[in-house]
């Protein structure tokens, strides 16, 4: 069947249900949220209708600047750790036989789909005094007695890298699978060792992919909201945690909405950058 332009109104019928659903349950909620970000807080209910910029004015405080700075710094660190670990791994994975790749991909998908609650719980167990990894160090004679390794920044970072790692691989995978193998063959025939070929040929060829992936993972890490609560102290709370906290526990939906709108703007700007990076690569 050729693709053709819709001839009559009836041809649009398949679009009706998805269109209505997406508009009513995504566009309208999203717009409601933007509207609420200009409303006034009502401590007894959700909010009262008004127009105020107070919620945005609160961004100008030092408290908010600290939260934002910490969230961005944490996400950047997670993104860089993930890509540094995952890029060589994904490259090697794409060179394995089909069966090995499939097994790894199934395992990675299973970890990726894990609830953040479970990841947080699992790492809190691993970092605990009674069941944790410190017991192993005691056994090896590295520590005198077992200690709890959380709540700490390191614990938050480790668990977030764990959470984002499978995602990083799945973003990198298609680009590395499609990498032209003749590039490497050329490098090898010219006498490059596999290690040098990787750093001098593969990495530069995919520079933009690497940048795009760092940004994608950065946005993904911005969304983490339970791990900082389970494994960190209040000063390790990210923007996502504070949005939830304001909306549910401080019942300040307008301020939560304003922070969410801000988070959308950051994310969209970053996704836009990714698209730009991707376009350059396909053009060159």
């Amino acid at each position: 069947m050729r693709r053709e332009k819709p001839q009559s109104l009836a041809d649009y019928t398949p679009l009706f249900f998805p269109g209505v659903m997406l508009v009513v349950f995504f566009v309208i909620p999203f717009s409601t949220m933007i509207a609420v970000s200009f409303f006034q807080r009502d401590p007894s209910g959700f909010y009262t209708t008004a127009f105020t910029l107070d919620n945005y004015a609160r961004f100008l405080s030092l408290f908010f600047a600290k939260i934002l700075g910490f969230s961005l710094l944490l996400s950047v660190t997670v993104a860089i750790c993930c890509v540094a670990l995952a890029f060589p791994f994904t490259y090697l994975l794409t060179r394995q036989v089909r069966k090995v790749q499939t097994v790894w991909l199934v395992a990675l998908l299973s970890v990726l789909s894990l609830s953040e609650v479970i990841i947080g719980f699992a790492w809190s167990t691993l970092f605990s005094r009674t069941a944790g990894i410190s017991n192993l160090f005691v056994g090896l004679g590295l520590l005198e007695k077992p200690v709890a390794l959380y709540p700490t920044f390191g614990a938050v970072l480790t668990a977030m890298v764990y959470q984002a790692f499978p995602y990083t691989i799945l973003v990198l995978y298609p680009a590395l699978v499609r990498l032209d193998p003749t590039l490497l063959e050329a490098a090898r025939t010219l006498g490059c060792s596999p290690m040098r070929a990787f750093f001098n040929v593969v990495v530069p060829a995919l520079r933009n992919t690497v940048v795009a992936t760092v940004i994608m993972v950065f946005v993904f890490a911005l969304g983490s909201y339970l791990i900082p609560q389970i494994l960190g102290r209040p000063q390790h709370w990210t923007l996502s945690v504070h949005i939830t906290d304001q909306a549910i526990y401080q019942s300040n939906m307008p301020f939560a909405a304003a922070m969410a709108v801000f988070l959308v703007l950051i994310s969209l700007a970053l996704v836009g950058l990714t698209l730009l990076a991707g376009r350059k690569e396909s053009a060159s």
Binding site: P14, F25, G120, I248
Partner: protein, 266 residues
């Protein structure tokens, strides 16, 4: 030789990093007493029985399954006609719906969650169980949308052309040629949405968190009041379900192809 060895060591280290927390959780889940110790003291599978025997955990399990089944159905019901239309027709402006389908998945989830919360609160329906199903259905539309777009793209248009030259109308073509061809993609799209909905916390919490406990919500609430090995057992159960479903997709389909296109679209 040394390079093979290094590669194996690297793969092993990554595998260990991914498996270690799960190994410890699995170990903790078979403790005989209600202790958080590893290696486990004694051996007991009774905590797994608790998931089904304890009324609270059982209720959470049922709530989670009902939510995931209906949310994945909604996601597929939205994605299928949309993907079909985009494949069948030349209508560039309709791509906006595709963008709307992918957007909730790319933005940080807390945004969709808060959008849903404000929406349901404003419309006065806050707390109804079905609101969570719709919210999850929209949140996970991306997954069936991507797998189905991929499925449609893989259809040889001449097959469909042949059917219509021989007199089949659109409906017949859809039923007898197109649907059987994209069925695997439909199933995997449903399965992806199902597994992710089962594990999702924030959207479920913000929409129905005060009236219903899904399993992730139940685990997080339980975590605040102290530890039970049942939580570990539930976690192992979740990993097993996910591994089983993705394993089946890999067994019957080509997961490499599915992922090769998935990530490039997302």
């Amino acid at each position: 030789m040394s390079e093979t060895f290094l590669r194996r060591l690297y793969f092993f280290a990554i595998g260990l990093f991914l498996a270690l927390p799960l190994i410890v959780v699995a170990g903790v889940s078979v403790n005989e007493k209600q202790d958080l110790t590893f290696p486990p003291v004694g051996f007991s599978m009774s905590w797994y029985g608790q998931i089904f025997a304890d009324p609270e955990w059982r209720q959470a399990l049922i709530a989670s399954l009902l939510l995931a089944v209906s949310a994945a159905a909604i996601a597929v019901a939205v994605a299928l006609p949309l993907a079909w239309f985009l494949w069948r027709r030349i209508a560039p402006w309709a791509n906006i719906f595709q963008l709307l389908g992918v957007a909730p998945f790319i933005l940080p989830p807390v945004i969709t969650a808060l959008g849903m919360l404000t929406f349901w609160a404003t419309s006065g329906l806050y707390g109804q169980p079905w609101t969570a199903a719709i919210s999850h259905g929209i949140f996970f539309v991306t997954l069936p949308l991507v797998t189905l777009s991929l499925g449609f793209a893989s259809i040889d248009r001449s097959l469909v052309e042949a059917a219509s030259t021989m007199g089949a109308d659109d409906r017949t073509v859809l039923k007898t040629v197109v649907l059987p061809l994209i069925l695997p993609y439909l199933v995997s799209g449903y399965a992806f949405a199902f597994v992710l909905s089962l594990n999702e916390y924030i959207v479920a919490y913000m929409t129905v968190g005060f009236t219903i406990e899904t399993l992730p919500i139940k685990i997080f609430n339980a975590l605040r009041y102290g530890y039970t090995p049942t939580m570990a057992a539930v976690s192992v159960f979740f990993v097993a379900v996910a591994a089983l479903i993705f394993g089946l997709i890999a067994w019957f389909g080509d997961i490499r192809k599915l992922l090769g296109a998935m990530a490039s679209e997302g």
